[in-house]
């Protein structure tokens, strides 16, 4: 009998009846009757539904926080899943994370609490160093309307020095999880590049699922029930990350979280920006290829990839082709992907010579907010002049926009304050922002120009400007 198999709070679950495309949140609350996990929004933005998952073929203690509202049950196959109900110790005592929240009076209405517990659990389990920044990064995906967070932050601090605590999986359980049983109907997770290509070729209309942070919304919010989903998550080749002499190569199923250390290394501004995409829960699920493939005008990685002259390798059964990310995006939410084709690799060339990379994001809230404006610049300065510049904006046109007029007025000219006089007019030609709930058109235009001024301060050799984040 085809079935999904996973561990739930340390116990085997074999699901034959539950639909593999049901949201994990609904599954937990209505099928498993574990109601500790809450729905606050069903759109991946409040964190009340946070659970933790670990992949036993890796370090089985490495639990990652994820939004259960954005996941389909099929994605749990082969994972060890932890919910708030599974945390208390064997003797019935509280998990240190739970105890810390009680001790700091960090619960009021308590509705957000299970989600915070699970984010903090994964944070603690990972043994990260507990700094202010690390705490906010771990909590950015969890909203609390009651406490004002101060006691929750305090509870995180109290975890410092406490050893991670979770019952390890028994060896035979871990081994059993790693073996794939028959796949359930309607949810396929191919185990090789070839198998993925064939599956997609046979069923080009199927949903191609990366992390599900976009498609998952259709299930949890729009209440669609897809009948055919093909997941990229189990294709080993797509998980590859290669750092070569000239590029960073990211497989098509590499999550933001997995890419982050490498981005931090090679393109720190890109890394810093990715830290502001969604929340940690989202970044643990979502893939960079997924961000590309949705081709949203506000996809945060797109301007960066275009500014960096990144290329993609697209594959289908008949072979592979290469193209620039700039060409890959063909219109508003449109890409060059042919039926049956998928993103195999994203190649980001290393910075060469004097090139430097800067990326800025503007939104109402620092964390987990969709950009009003995003700007990415690859600039090289030589002898006080702009030797080369690629400037790309998001949020100011139906697709990520190369600011070619801007590039033209600046390239070859001295990089001084006189140069800045021309930028407003140039950008007015390059960008066609609209006004909406995120910002008015005029704010977008003003801010887009001011980000060039910030770029100037940051790159012109004098002291970089003070940034709010540094205060």
């Amino acid at each position: 009998m085809p079935a999904l198999r996973f561990m739930l709070n340390g116990e085997w679950r074999s699901e034959e009846r539950a639909s593999p495309t049901m949201s994990v949140l609904d599954y937990l609350r209505t099928v498993a009757r574990l109601t500790g996990t809450k729905e606050g929004c069903a759109e991946g933005d409040c964190g009340a539904c946070t659970i933790a998952v670990a992949c036993p073929d890796k370090d089985q203690h490495a639990y990652q926080a994820v939004n259960s509202c954005l996941m389909m049950v099929g994605q749990l196959d082969g994972l060890s899943v932890m919910t708030v109900e599974g945390l208390a110790r064997g003797d019935g005592g509280l998990h240190p994370v739970q105890q810390a929240l009680v001790d700091t009076d960090a619960t009021q209405c308590g509705f957000c609490t299970p989600g915070f517990v699970m984010s903090m659990f994964a944070f603690h389990q990972a043994g990260e160093r507990i700094t202010e920044t690390a705490v906010h990064e771990a909590l950015a995906g969890n909203l609390c309307r009651c406490t004002g967070y101060r006691p929750i932050i305090e509870a995180c601090r109290r975890l410092a020095g406490l050893p991670p605590f979770v019952q390890p999986l028994a060896k035979e359980d871990a081994e059993r999880l790693a073996v794939s049983p028959d796949e359930p109907v309607g949810f396929t997770a191919p185990r090789s590049l070839g198998a993925l290509a064939s599956a997609l070729a046979a069923r080009p209309q199927a949903w191609l699922l990366g992390g599900g942070t976009d498609l998952g919304l259709l299930v949890s919010k729009e209440r669609q029930s897809p009948t055919d989903v093909i997941s990229t998550a189990r294709v080993p080749e797509l998980k590859n990350i290669a750092v070569t002499a000239d590029a960073l190569e990211l497989g098509g199923a590499v999550t933001y979280s997995a890419a982050l250390p490498h981005l931090d290394d090679l393109f720190p501004a890109f890394g810093a920006l990715v830290r502001r995409i969604g929340s940690r829960q989202i970044r643990n699920l979502g893939t960079i290829a997924g961000n590309l493939a949705t081709a949203s005008p506000i996809g945060d990685t797109l301007p960066c990839l275009i500014a960096l002259e990144a290329r993609v390798v697209l594959r289908r059964t008949t072979g592979a082709r290469h193209m620039s990310v700039e060409d890959f995006i063909t219109g508003y939410r449109k890409t060059a992907l042919a039926p049956g084709e998928f993103i195999e690799t994203i190649c980001i060339p290393r910075l060469a010579g004097r090139q430097r990379f800067f990326a800025y994001k503007l939104s109402k809230r620092f964390d987990q907010d969709i950009s009003a404006v995003i700007a990415a610049f690859r600039i090289a300065i030589s002898g006080g002049k702009v030797a080369s510049l690629r400037a790309v904006y998001g949020g100011v046109a139906p697709t990520p926009a190369r600011a070619k007029a801007l590039e033209m007025v600046l390239t070859g000219h001295p990089w001084n304050s006189e140069a800045l006089a021309a930028i407003d007019a140039a950008l007015a030609r390059d960008l066609s922002p609209i006004g909406d709930h995120r910002a008015s058109a005029s704010y977008r235009l003003d801010a887009a120009a001011n980000l060039v001024r910030r770029l100037h301060a940051d790159s012109s050799g004098d002291e970089p400007s003070v940034r709010l984040e540094a205060l």
């Binding site: 609350r29 109601t35 500790g36 809450k38 729905e39 606050g40 929004c41 069903a42 759109e43 991946g44 933005d45 409040c46 708030v84 109900e85 945390l87 509280l94 739970q98 929240l101 009680v102 009076d105 619960t107 009021q108 209405c109 308590g110 509705f111 957000c112 609490t113 299970p114 517990v117 906010h136 909590l139 969890n142 609390c144 309307r145 009651c146 406490t147 004002g148 967070y149 006691p151 209440r223 503007l362 939104s363 109402k364 809230r365 964390d367 987990q368 009003a372 909406d436 709930h437 910002a439 008015s440 704010y443 801010a447 001011n450 910030r454 400007s465 003070v466 940034r467 709010l468 205060l471």
Partner: protein
Amino acid sequence: MNTAPLARTRRGAHAAVSHDSAMGHVTGRAIYLDDMAVPPNTLHAALVLSGHAHARIRRIDLTRARRAPGVVAAVTAADIPGKNDIAPILTGEPALAEEVVEYVGHPVAAIAAETMDQARAAAALVEIDYEVLPAVLTVDEALEKGHLVAPEQKMVRGDVDAALKRAPRRMSGELRCGGQDHFYLEGQIALALPGEDRSMQVYSSTQHPTEVQHGVAHLLGLPFSAVTVDVRRMGGAFGGKESQATIIAGIAALLAWHAHRPVKLRLARDHDMEVTGKRHGFLFRYDVGYDENGRILALDMVLAANAGNIADLSPPVVTRALCHADNCYFIPDIRLRGLACKTNTVSNTAFRGFGGPQGMFAIEAIVDILARRLKLPLETVRRRNYYGIDRDNVTPYGMTVEDNIIHRVVDELESSVDLPRWRRDIDDFNRTSAVVKKGLATVPVKFGISFNLPTLNQAGALVHVYTDGSVLLNHGGTEMGQGLFIKVAQVVAEAFHIDVSQVRVSATSTGKVPNTSATAASSGSDLNGMAALHAAEQIKARMAEVAAARYEVPAAEIIFKDGRVFAGNDSMSFGELAHACWRQRVSLSAAGFYRTPKIHWDAKTCTGRPFFYFTYGAAAAEVAIDTLTGELRVLRAELLQDCGRSLNPAIDLGQIEGAFVQGMGWLTMEELWWDDKGRLRTHGPSTYKIPGSRDVPPIFNARILADSPNREATIFRSKAVGEPPLMLALSVWLAIRDAIASIADHRIVPELDAPATPERILAAVNQLRRAAS
């Protein structure tokens, strides 16, 4: 019999006891309404909403929806057996739209089906034929057209026109503050179970079970006694579940009535934000007269609230705005006009502060502007205007401020933070930083406690002592996370001098304590604490009689102490005495009741003593803005809040911090944005941004004012705490103004409304730069 030894220190009133559900919260075992096991035949409901801001309903066709899989009931206003009116104050406010829809999101029909997905799918099949009508979408337009949901309220003292003319200086202007979504993490939800004999049991996530009871009874044409409403806890409410919960529960009950089966209605977040009301945005037009010293001599101000499409609670929200437009200041001649403007948007409602924050926003902005014009420190100007102790101490509504401690509170705050030095640090920073600018500001707060309408200031409680000495407490207040249950339990523990762990609080139910007021206006522990004390005192007196007879001493000599009952050296445990009472056939159960003394209010003249007392607070905040982008960070906040003799400092501290951050959200990043069709485009957390952990100032100190018992005889001399600290967040907004003003060396008054989003901040920066050049 309970002979277990007490915890070493007995925990009663004033102890920093954790929330009674803390363990349940962290383990996920605390049960919210959607977590309850429901009968297997329960149906799930979905709403059909108007897509138009204003339209006449020509025809509703439910045929296709009724035929959809799983559908058991589909209803419109025509299916209401009783009266289609759930107005909390006035009348004529339907649960389902009749004839016209008046906002995008107005519920028109509802479906109950076997599953939630079936209900939602069927809802999409309901066909409605509309005749679209012109819509009024803004306060400005409503004002111009004179569209109001209730008559104007006027609060007048003295001769404003003459005083304005006489004043050496005068200025006028316009200000705006936005509304705010409650964003309680648990969305609106209700479960209705039809009972025997034309009765209805309703579980509702509501702050006002009695109003839900009335609403359901009206809709179904039942006597109140046939409807029972229970609520154990809410996942947050903040005023959003005061009147709004009635809509949800009412529709669930209507569906259950027709389906003869239990019905659960849980709104998805988008629907929750589209259908239910929010904090009122306000437009203020002021004309103020003052002198060179910054003394305010006269104020003429219109406070125009965006009420939305119906009155709901807007009239009292406006009243409270009028009652707080003085904040801490004596304004000799004053005329305040409060208007609840009718627009074709969702009907706004109660939200923590209930108009108070908006009124205070206006006067604090005005004081800031005039201080900047006079180039005087804001703190100096405020001091010149504070209510006096023996003179200049009567509010515009005629209430004498008898308990004024604002001078003390402000002094304590200012000296504890070394304000002059802090100011110097900010100025030093700004001198060397070209792009990022810092700002600093303080704010004083005086907030009146009691419902403005005297009738509402009453409460009931029920206390049972069992023969093992355990105590069951029930009262009319609801638990939404604010810690009311633990506080009232502490009161009862204090009365019997037992540990609070011996007191269990049960779910609020209209079947146990009837005719309750909403748990609102910060009054929960004041009212219910007193009612519970009254109940406990009755039982205690009877128990003392029994003990007195047993030990052969006068009852007056019986002492309850630390879980035991003493007569001289003789003693027995509280449980033993309870058992003895039972044997002697003495009742161990009592109902308590309380009504707040001293208060009265004349709504026609807007005068009286609406508040039993005031609570006070002060805050200082430091912010930094990026003048290229308008981005903001709040760097430091120092809060000092008067809680009287706090009933529970741990709980009160949580209220102070939480309210402050919520207020900060209202004034900075939380922006409600409607498009030109009247559609709310910020209807979920992906588009409507409430503060996250990083937005909390890295230096954040909240303190409770020490040694400050309430001078009025409130419950153990404590003070209410739910709402007042929200207004401390005005310091953040004022600090942003200060940061902007620093660009032109504080020579020019910045123009900034709320919320101070990056966009508004950048616009204010640019405007000020233009003015400076």
